[in-house]
Symmetry: C2
Subunit: 372 residues, 2 copies
């Protein structure tokens, strides 16, 4: 029996803490399922810059390419904000995404039972949210030509949003297939009333829609979608977005899940997938054991499901997370402002217990065997 | 005594209905204040296209340039979606914005008392929202070079996000000045960890911040701001955004005000300002007398304040709107799903009365004298 080989890139801020928590859960769930996983730790982001290795060392990229899946924490922070663009931690992340050929970024947004209190939305609006944002990850403004030029003494800066038909088709097909496995509703998010790239997106998606007659395909302008997302989230199933729009909408959608700390992502399409929590490095709470590890833990579950084809392991992790939340355990980000420690939601709801990264992870680990 | 001269461009869908409502309120309030206003109606958008005049006739632009202020409904609709980009209604709007030199788009977002029920947010989150989005309106992806090219049989589409230092400075100064008149907090929204244009925005704003030491200036990535906006809106005062980011965030912010139908905008910076409700043409309810006229009516108030310097008229309109809402009058968009007709909010709250465009306008007109 050969072990699965997973590369861990902690990165910066709270990245290393949450990645270790996720690795523990993945290892334990794999063991319970009679499977084996081996980890290699690799450098990336600001900490790699500080060690003189640049934002994404070649050795890391090679290790990733030879692995069965990559779990990354987060990169970046004010410490490196003054570096020129190409030398920043974020440039390293873009490089890794490209090296892995990860063109489809999948961001499931689901409100776990018991977290209705954690969202700024009315419970009756947020309840039942279960959508997925499919964000194109290797094109658009993120990878187009950018720079500055001097024009009669004025400084001009530019970025380019660029898409080729084939880049649209591959991620759109992925989104159609995903919709088929869900509620069969796909919505393309664009700004086709203004942007030429958006018009190409619309044409391609319209032409592919013919091949997926069982999927209901609609179109929405990004501004209007930003509103719908918090107004009637239950009406949404799969949202297909170009890179920048997907970046903005998926952070916005975080409020539907109670906290950015809850969200996982998978970047796939190439030989090996990259799995990351959606939250950033949160430098203000780094190293204090306060971070919510669930985004990273659910990312490990996605890795198990999508890269390793270990559905049993993925389900075990997801159910243990759900059970832990149902029993009232919360990291700080999930109680901000509303539910207070010790307060029960009434009528049989367990009391809220505010815990740190370590305790939350321990609680999840403890519940894994229940779902083995 | 010379009359103020206002150009009305109804445009498409519900545009004409709401512009007429707003013109009535402006005229009546002006009369009550002993002032005079004259209107000229001009063509623009899809209806102008249908009449063979193109999306923004030259005569309209000339009329606007010779007026004291322009009130526009909305343009666009599925009817014209198949036209090439440059011939679409939206292209006409961009042309008008440019012809007027309107580089600063001001979008106040305020939750009126009594509308707490209309937002999908928890009342305790939304209550007290009072922020302004300052959106750059003549640069970025909207006006940069765009097109397609063929590359080895693949179709490539592109749009360009471009900003010159002077374009940033003028709108940033405007935002700093505005913050000074408010709670003295300015937040620049960008994606400086990736985009070169964003880095130029940040440099310019950082350097201008020195001239406004009394304004607290912060920086936030657009993805993270999309989350904050619905998570802790009260913490925000003035948000400065490039064109596309401002477009997305201001629609999202609409949920804070209860409905997109509530939001007004002013596009200023040139010799004459352009005032528009933020909502679109809503083709599904056009011509049925159901549209919420308040976005347009509050836009007329902004016109009075900013272009005509008629503070008394502006205040009269705004207070009449607030009073009408306080007494329970609501258009359909403000009751969707929650408060039901006839239901009172309890404890002295008046019963909700669902009305159409005409009745809402009549109620506001009726209350103007109370604030004269
Ligand atoms: C750190 C940054 C480059 C990244 C992105 O925008 O892709 C992050 O915001 C994300 O969404 O994963
Ligand atoms: C119709 C469209 C061009 C316009 C824009 O994006 O500027 C609208 O969405 C707005 O926000 O005023």
């Amino acid at each position: 029996r050969s072990a699965a080989h997973v590369v861990l890139i902690g990165g910066d801020g709270i990245g290393p803490e949450v990645v270790e928590a996720a690795a523990q859960c993945l290892e334990e769930a794999a063991n319970l399922a009679g499977r084996e996983v081996r980890f290699t730790r690799a450098a990336g982001g600001g900490e790699a810059i500080d060690r003189g290795l640049g934002p994404m060392p070649d050795a890391t990229i090679q290790a990733c390419l030879h692995s069965d899946g990559v779990l990354l924490g987060a990169v970046g922070g004010p410490r490196w904000d003054r570096l020129p663009g190409a030398l920043r931690p974020e440039a390293g992340l873009l490089e890794l995404r490209r090296a892995l050929g990860a063109f489809a970024n999948i961001r499931p947004v689901r409100l776990f039972e018991g977290l209705e209190d954690a969202t700024p939305l009315r419970p009756e609006v947020a309840r039942g949210t279960d959508l997925v944002i499919v964000r194109e990850l290797l094109g658009g403004l993120y990878y187009g030509a950018r720079g500055r030029r001097d024009q009669d003494g004025r400084i001009l800066a530019f970025d380019t949003m660029e898409y080729a038909d084939v880049e649209i088709d591959r991620v759109a097909r992925f989104a159609f297939e995903l919709a088929r496995k869900r509620r069969r509703k796909l919505c393309l998010v664009d700004k086709a009333n203004i942007l030429e790239t958006s018009r190409l997106w619309r044409e391609r998606v319209e032409s592919l829609a013919g091949e997926y007659p069982d999927v209901e395909c609609t179109y929405q302008y990004v501004d209007s979608c930003a509103m719908k997302l918090v107004q009637s989230p239950r009406s949404l199933d799969v949202l297909l977005c170009e890179n920048t729009f997907g970046d903005i909408l998926s952070d916005e959608a975080a409020v539907l899940a109670g906290s950015l700390g809850m969200l996982a992502s998978a970047s796939i399409g190439g030989p090996v997938g990259l799995y990351e929590p959606v939250h950033g490095t949160a430098p203000d709470i780094a190293g204090q054991g306060l971070a919510n590890p669930i985004g990273a833990i659910l990312s490990a579950a996605l890795l198990a499901r999508l890269d390793l084809q270990w559905d049993d392991v993925a389900a075990m992790i997801e159910e243990a997370v759900a059970a832990t939340l149902q029993e009232g355990f919360r990291t700080r980000d999930l109680v901000a402002g509303r539910a207070t420690e010790g307060a029960g939601g009434g009528a049989g709801t367990p009391a809220v217990r505010v815990v740190g990264t370590r305790e939350m992870t321990a609680q999840i680990l403890e519940r894994l065997p229940l779902f083995a």
